[in-house]
């Protein structure tokens, strides 16, 4: 099930929310209710692979108990092997088979063509973090399998993160407070998320998908002029950001509605002035996970040996790329960030002063190209698309389609660019801390907020009811 659906908004959410607060007399009852609801949420999209998730819960529950009792390394190795083995089998087996076949130049092994269980990358990492933290004695073992089940399968962050570490919610599962303020915060966040997803991300997807589809057939069929290729890349950059961050907003918002505080996953990454800074603001929970469980154990950046630091960085970004998908383009995407972060380390870009605008432009351009790598279905399409961006295939410069897209989607592009920055926070802070008394302005802003958010929510539901374009990009992750 996805948040941006009629089933979720008008059936699942109201029922889960109302029953949850009816059960307010007992935390255990609330937790059991949330666990059942979460399993139903997952089974709705994966009626078969829900079994895999239940196995993951039981296996990691048992391994938690085992590593708590015996700190032998073999136990943690088995845990990692089983968890990553399942993830690898479903996500990467065909990639490996294709690799083998390409080495031999013929089909030696038939691809398995297994469907990817939704959210498997997210919940596997959560489950792993639990057992590792118990092993490292950073977390207490969870003796109640239902509580662990709730941690791994809790529906708000199940399919698209944020990847919540067990230590973050360990206490919240047992004792959490939810008051009207928190529910309010959650609802506002969720409503912002749904509007971002349905009204911005989906519309940007319409633009990006059309333009990338043009280039997928090859330049001999239809040419993609330079201006159009750049617009497609830009639209995809906005789509990915809004799609992903909107899901995080909705997850965090829903978490708050049920009394959970999840970590932030995006902090206005497009305000960054370096790629390293960008990556500390983009999919923060994944970066934190790799930092805690891969980078630091390898020695991190504290190692005196520069070569080791570079190796550690390389491994982390290679794994980050692989985590995103089974394909060369994802690996190249990860290594692109590795290369730029390394470069920034050498030239010490973050300590350099001035050139603020240039540094912002630099970040946007690098990210734009990284997104083209991320979006391309194959190396061939990537080369073709980048070639189109620089007019290297006789594809021309000007495109009437470019003008058309800007006219038809201008308002979405404008909103998309505007909300890359903390507009709401800026307005609120300006009105709050100004020495002048902007009473009328404050009232106006408050009215605009209430009416605007209601209209955005209402129109989002309208789009969903109409069956508007609503791609779900997390099937790949």
């Amino acid at each position: 099930m996805v948040f941006s659906s009629i089933t979720f908004l008008l059936y699942y959410f109201p029922i889960v929310f109302i029953v949850y607060y009816i059960l307010a007399f007992s935390r255990t009852a609330q937790n059991i209710w949330l666990l059942l609801a979460s399993l139903l949420f997952y089974a709705w999209g994966e009626p078969v692979y829900v079994v895999l998730m239940v196995f993951s819960i039981l296996f990691n529950y048992i391994m938690g108990l085992v590593v708590n009792k015996s700190k032998k390394k073999i136990n943690i190795v088995i845990t990692c092997l089983v968890n990553l083995g399942i993830l690898g089998f479903y996500k990467y087996s065909d990639f490996v088979i294709e690799l083998i076949n390409s080495v031999f130049g013929e089909t030696r092994v038939q691809p398995l063509k297994l469907p990817l269980p939704i959210g498997i990358s997210f919940y596997t990492f959560q489950a792993l973090s639990y057992v590792i933290d118990v092993y490292k004695e950073k977390a207490e073992v969870q003796k109640n399998p239902l509580n662990l089940g709730l941690y791994i399968s809790f529906f708000p962050q199940l399919v698209a993160g944020p990847i919540v570490r067990y230590t973050t919610v360990e206490k919240q599962i047992r004792e959490r407070k939810s008051d009207f303020n928190m529910i309010t915060e959650g609802i506002c966040r969720f409503a912002e998320g749904i509007a971002k997803k349905v009204l911005i991300a989906n519309n940007m997807a319409a633009v990006a998908d059309q333009i990338f589809a043009l280039s997928s057939g090859g330049d001999n069929i239809v040419k993609t002029p330079v201006m159009l290729a750049w617009l497609g890349a830009f639209a995809y950059m906005l789509q990915l950001y809004y799609d992903f961050s909107a899901y995080s907003d909705m997850a965090i918002g829903l978490g708050k509605m049920f009394g959970f505080q999840f970590p932030e996953n995006f902090r206005y990454p497009f305000m960054a002035k370096s790629i390293r800074e960008f990556m500390t603001k983009w999919h923060i929970s994944l970066a934190t996970w790799f930092n805690q469980y891969v980078y630091k154990p390898l020695g991190g950046s504290k190692s005196d040996n520069k070569d080791k630091m570079i190796r550690n960085l390389f491994i982390v970004w290679l794994l980050t790329g692989i985590w995103h998908g089974a394909g060369w383009t994802f690996i190249w995407w990860g290594l692109t960030f590795f290369a730029f972060i390394l470069l920034e380390n050498f030239i010490n870009i973050e300590k350099s002063e001035g050139h603020e605008v240039l540094r912002h432009i630099y970040v946007w351009v690098v990210v734009l190209f990284a997104m083209v790598i991320f979006r391309s279905d194959s190396g061939a399409q990537l080369i073709r698309y980048i070639g189109n961006m620089f007019g290297m295939s006789g594809n021309g410069f000007y495109s009437s389609r470019f003008v058309m897209f800007l006219k038809e989607y201008g308002i979405i592009f404008a909103s998309g660019i505007l909300f890359l920055f903390p507009v709401r926070e800026f307005i609120e802070e300006t009105l709050e801390h100004s020495k002048k008394n902007y009473r009328m302005l404050k009232i106006c802003w408050q009215t605009v907020y209430i009416v605007g958010m209601l209209l955005l929510t209402f129109f989002s539901i309208t789009v969903l009811a109409k069956g508007g374009y609503n791609p779900f990009i997390y099937f790949n992750f």
Binding site: M1, S5, I6, T7, L9, L10, Y11, F13, P14, F17, I18, A43, W44, G45, P47, V48, F180, N181, I183, T184, E185, I187, C188, A191, A206, Q210, A213, L214, G217, I221, V222, S399, S400, R401, F402, V403, M404, F405, K407, E408, I411, E428, Q446, T447, Y449, I450, M453, L454, T457, F458, F459, I461, T462, V463, L464, A465, K466, G467, G468, Y469
Partner: protein, 413 residues
């Protein structure tokens, strides 16, 4: 949290929970009935699609029915958008809804399709059957029709021109109705329903008139030598003003698309037909009687709601996979076989009184071997193949792609 955010949160919860409650209360019977109809999934494969089907039911059985579609259309109209729902449809300057196509590329060479027609001509020549290809007008043509700058309209006219060139080269006969309407100075809004993907019945009548004249002049076919069946004076016409919301309009919404006029024709002369037809699920039916009881389906003219009022289906029910119309009032007239899609329905309906027997096949759903067998069984005097430029493509030209197939019965159904 600030007070205005609290106000919004309360309103949000009230709206969502209120809407959910009212929706379930009012729609529960429809939902339960639809879910029951879906049945219980009894295999892994069905289980995998079961929840998606329930999602569709919950979305389609939503309170307010078409209100959501109309609101969406209203917002799009207010924003002045000329593309609708990720280029499902686009609008031209005359307000006609068009199909969008960024590539306008056909995956099959025009020569290959022309050669398939030639194969049929060769195969049926010995029976004395004549084959004539009919090219209908398209909804949009760059350079002729007025489109908005940069909007990707579907236009396969140059492909149709290539195809016709190959037909000529391979010595086959055709009628290009695009030329007819151009010569008559018709605008696209005169030829097409702005909200439906078909041409108007009036256009179909005019085309039938021209077809009969052409056949009588060039083949001495005897369709309408006395200008009786194609004389508009022998028909009652009635117009439903601003009542018709066509197939595209129903997707885009009435507010966005607007409404069309619909004029129907009914013969005043005496007619007697037997009509047999079979749909894609192999359901067969047979009716006998006058034109208005066999060729026409008047029930489609009577619905009150513009979303269920499918006027185009008032003739021959829109389209069936197989049609056989036996004309008891004109038994000496030519025997015709028509290979077609729904675009040809008006021509079929107006041609029926001029044929002693008219068989029609929706080629997309009939295999090549099956059609050849039916043709050789029927031995028609004339075969018409009719498609609009964007439908001149391999999937519609199944009829002579016959070498590979071996099992007739299997592919026929």
């Amino acid at each position: 949290m600030k007070i205005y955010q609290k106000i919004f949160a309360v309103l949000f919860l009230a709206c969502i929970i209120g809407l959910a409650g009212v929706n379930f209360y009012t729609q529960r019977e429809a939902i339960i009935s639809d879910v029951k109809e879906l049945g219980v999934p009894d295999s892994k494969k069905k289980l995998e699609t079961y929840t998606a089907s329930i999602d569709s039911i919950l979305a389609s059985d939503l309170i307010g029915d078409h209100m959501w579609n109309e609101m969406y259309g209203a917002v799009y109209k207010a924003l002045g958008k000329n593309e609708e729902n990720n280029f499902s449809y686009v609008r031209d300057k005359k307000g006609i809804l068009q199909f969008a196509d960024f590539k306008n590329v056909n995956d099959t060479e025009a020569l290959e399709l022309a050669e398939r027609v030639r194969k049929l001509v060769d195969r049926t020549e010995k029976m004395g059957t004549k084959v004539i290809f009919l090219v209908y007008p398209s909804r949009f043509e760059y350079g002729v029709d007025d489109g908005y700058y940069g909007i990707p309209y579907r236009d396969f006219n140059s492909y149709a021109d290539d195809f016709i060139r190959y037909l000529r080269r391979l010595n086959m006969d055709y009628i290009d109705f695009r030329e007819l309407f151009n010569e008559m100075g018709y605008e696209k809004s005169d030829i097409m329903y702005p909200t439906d993907h078909h041409w108007k019945l009036e256009s179909g009548f005019l085309a039938t008139q021209y077809l009969a004249q052409y056949m009588d002049k060039n083949y001495n076919a005897g369709f309408d030598p006395d200008y009786f069946y194609t004389n508009p004076d022998n028909y009652i016409t009635e117009t439903y003003y601003q009542r018709y919301l066509g197939s595209i309009g129903r997707e885009a919404g009435e507010i966005y698309a607007g409404l069309d006029d619909y004029t129907y024709f009914l013969p005043t002369y005496e007619t007697q037909f037997t009509r047999m037809y079979e749909d894609n699920d192999n359901h067969k039916d047979e009716v006998s009687g006058s034109y208005s009881h066999t060729i026409m389906k008047r029930k489609y003219l009577t619905y009150e709601d513009s979303y269920s009022r499918e006027f185009y289906n008032s003739y021959l029910g829109g389209i069936y996979r197989i049609e056989r119309i036996v004309n008891h009032s004109n038994t000496e007239a030519p025997r015709v076989l028509f290979l077609r899609d729904s675009y040809s329905t008006p021509i079929g309906a107006f041609l029926a009184p001029m044929c002693s027997r008219l068989d029609m096949y929706w080629t997309q759903f009939c295999s090549g071997n099956y059609l050849i067998e039916r043709i050789e069984d029927f031995e028609p005097d004339y075969i018409f193949i009719g498609f609009a430029p964007d439908k001149i493509q391999s999937s519609e030209f199944t009829f002579f792609d016959i070498e590979e197939e071996t099992d007739d019965e299997e592919v026929a159904s």
